[in-house]
Symmetry: C2
C-alpha cells in the first residue's frame, strides 16, 4: 500500500470559497458573516476530487491523508469566530470526501488558530475532528499571522495545552504555515520552506520532546532546508551541547518527500534515517506542471522514490510503515474502509 501523507483539497467546490468571500466582505464592511450551510452536494464533491483520484490511479498510490487547502487556512484573517467557522466548514468537507471515498482519503484537520489567541482554542475542533469525524492528525500553523512571525516559538509553553490534547488523542501534527501576507515571502516558494526550517531549528534549540516524549511533528516539503544542511544542524546541535540529532529529535520529527526532483530525494533518503521519511506528493499543490527535463509531473514523487537506492524493505517503510506508525489511528481508519 502506498500512503501519501500530504494532500490538500485544493479543488473544493466554489461554494466553499463563496462562504470565505462572505466572511472577508463582512470583515471589510463590519457586518459579521454568520456561519451558514454550504449547499454542496455529494455529486459535487465526487466531481471535485476526480483530479486527485486520477493521480492516485495514474501514479499507483492508494490513499491520501487529506486536509483542507493549506494556503487558504489564512489564520490571519479575522478573529477566532471567523477562523472557527471557516475551519469547521473546511473540515466537514474533508470528512464528507473521506466518507464518499473511504479507501482513498483519510482526514487531517485544519485548526481554528488566530493571531494572539492561545492554541487552547483549537483543542475542541481537534477533538471533534478526531473523535467524531475519524481524522488522524492535524495541520498546525507555527505562524498564524501569515508571515509576521509574532507568535511564540513552537517550543514555548504557549503551545503546551494543545500538545497535551494531541498526545492524549495520539495524533501527530504536520507543521504547516498558510498564505503569506508579508510581501517578502512568496507563500509556496519561501514561506513554506522557511517555516519548515524554522520549526526544526526551534525544536533543536529546546527540549520540547523531553516534556512530550510521544509528541510527533511531520515537517513537510522534505524538511525545508534541513536535510540539505544536515551537517550544519548536526554541528549546531553540537555547539549547543544537545544530544545527537537522532536522539534529540528523530523520535519525534519526521520529514515528507515533497521534494520535486531526483537529486533532492536522493539527498533526503541518504541523509535522513529511513524511519523518519514519509511518502508524500502534496498533490494537488504548489507545483502542478510537467518537468520538461523528465516529461513527468514535478510532484509525481513516487517516481523519485522508485528511482532511489532505497531497498524494497525501506521503500515499504517510506510508503506505508512509517505513516502507520506516525499516524496510529490510520490502521483503524483503513481497516474500517476495508483496505
Amino acid at each position: 500500500m502506498i500512503i501519501d501523507c500530504h494532500g490538500h483539497f485544493t479543488t473544493a467546490p466554489k461554494e466553499l470559497q463563496a462562504f470565505r468571500d462572505e466572511q472577508i466582505a463582512g470583515l471589510k464592511s463590519g457586518q459579521h458573516a454568520a456561519k451558514r450551510p454550504l449547499s454542496i452536494t455529494d455529486d459535487q464533491l465526487r466531481e471535485a476530487v476526480q483530479p486527485q483520484l486520477k493521480f492516485q490511479s495514474d501514479r499507483g498510490t492508494d490513499v491520501t491523508i487529506f486536509s483542507p487547502r493549506a494556503s487558504a487556512m489564512a489564520h490571519h484573517i479575522g478573529d477566532l469566530t471567523i477562523s472557527t467557522d471557516w475551519a469547521e466548514h473546511c473540515n466537514d468537507l474533508i470528512y464528507r470526501v473521506c466518507e464518499l471515498f473511504p479507501k482513498n482519503f483519510v482526514g487531517v484537520c485544519q485548526l481554528p488558530q488566530t493571531p494572539g489567541v492561545t492554541p487552547d482554542s483549537s483543542i475542541a475542533e481537534l477533538k471533534r475532528c478526531v473523535n467524531e469525524l475519524g481524522f488522524v492528525g492535524c495541520n498546525l500553523n507555527p505562524d498564524p499571522s501569515g508571515g509576521m512571525w509574532n507568535a511564540p516559538p513552537l517550543t514555548d509553553k504557549h503551545w503546551y495545552p494543545f500538545y497535551e490534547a494531541m498526545v492524549e488523542l495520539d495524533v501527530p501534527a504536520m507543521v504547516h504555515v498558510s498564505a503569506s501576507c508579508n510581501p517578502n515571502f512568496h507563500a509556496t516558494g519561501a514561506h513554506y520552506l522557511n517555516a519548515d526550517t524554522t520549526a526544526f531549528m526551534q525544536c533543536l534549540t529546546a527540549d520540547l520532546f523531553k516534556d512530550f516524549p510521544t509528541l510527533r511533528f511531520i515537517i513537510p516539503h522534505g524538511g525545508g532546508a534541513v536535510p540539505y544542511h544536515w551537517g550544519r544542524f548536526r554541528g549546531l546541535a553540537q555547539e549547543l551541547k544537545k544530544p545527537l540529532l537522532k536522539d534529540h529529535l528523530l523520535n519525534n520529527i519526521f520529514f515528507d518527500t515533497c521534494v520535486y526532483h531526483q537529486p533532492g530525494i536522493d539527498l533526503l533518503t541518504k541523509v535522513i534515517p529511513v524511519d523518519n521519511i514519509l511518502f508524500a506528493s502534496e498533490m494537488i499543490g504548489a507545483v502542478r506542471g510537467i518537468d520538461p527535463e523528465t516529461g513527468h509531473n514535478y510532484d509525481d514523487t513516487r517516481r523519485y522514490i522508485e528511482a532511489s537506492t532505497l531497498s524494497a524493505a525501506d521503500r515499504h517503510k517510506v510508503y506505508e510503515g512509517n505513516a502507520r506508525r506516525v499516524f496510529p489511528r490510520l490502521d483503524a481508519a483503513l481497516k474500517a474502509a476495508g483496505s
Copy 2:
C-alpha cells in the same frame, strides 16, 4: 589558487565590541555614544586573525574575501548614525587586516543599513570602501529589522539607487542577514537559511535582472533551501511563466559552498551549474566543531569539494575562476598583493 569568498572577522579585538557596547548603552540611557578612535594596534590585529591564517594554511586555501562579523552588523540597533559609525569602524578594521596580510585577505564591506531608511544611505560607505579601501564587494542585508521582515523585497525600487551604485562600481553583494531579534528564528540555524531562500524567490518572481543585467548577488550558505528544492523552483518559475532559471536568474545569482557535509555539496554541485558556485567556508563562522563522523571540522568545505565528482577544470572554476568573474575587482587586488 583557492579563494574563499565568505569569511567574517569573528575574532576581532575586544576593543571593537567595547565601542559597540557603548553605543548600545547610549541608546538605553539616551546619551548618544559618539564615534571615537578604537585604539587597536597592528599587533593586536595580527594576533586576532591568527586562527583564520592557520585554517588557510591547514586547509590549503589562499585568500579569504573578508567582511565584518555578519551577526554583529545588527542593523536593527539604533538609527542611521549608530549604524554608520559602527559600519565604518568594522570596515576600517577589515581594511587594516587586508593591509597587514594583503595576500590572505581582500575586503568586503558592511553597510550602514537601518530599518525604515532607504538604502541610498549606504551608497557613500560602499563608495568609500571600494574606492578608498580597495574592497571588492558588500554584504547586503535584505532584512535590516533583524527578523521582522518589514523592508520591501530586494526586487522593489526601494533598492534601485543602491543597485545603481553597485553596478557603477562593478561590485557584487552577498545577500546576508544579521542577528535575529525574533525569537522564532535562530540566527545561524534558521534566519540565515530562510533569508537565502527568500532572496532567491524574490528574484524568481520579479524581473530585477532585466533592469540590472550586470547586477550580481551571491546567496550564501549554499543558497539556503534552493538547490535541495531546485525542482520546486523550476516548477514555480514555470507556473509563473518565467524563463528557465538558467536564463532568468543564473547570469546574476551565485551560490557559495557553505554546506557542511558531503551529501549537501554533492547535491549542490550536481544541481547548480558549476559556473554559479563559488568556494567558501564561512570560517570562522556558525559551526566551528569537529564532525565526529569525519574527524574534520564541519566547515572544512574544501574536503567536500575535493571528494566531489567535479573535474579538475570545474574545481578550478569553483575555487578561483568564478570568484574572479563575480568580483571583477579581485584581479587587481590580488595583483597588487603580488599573488
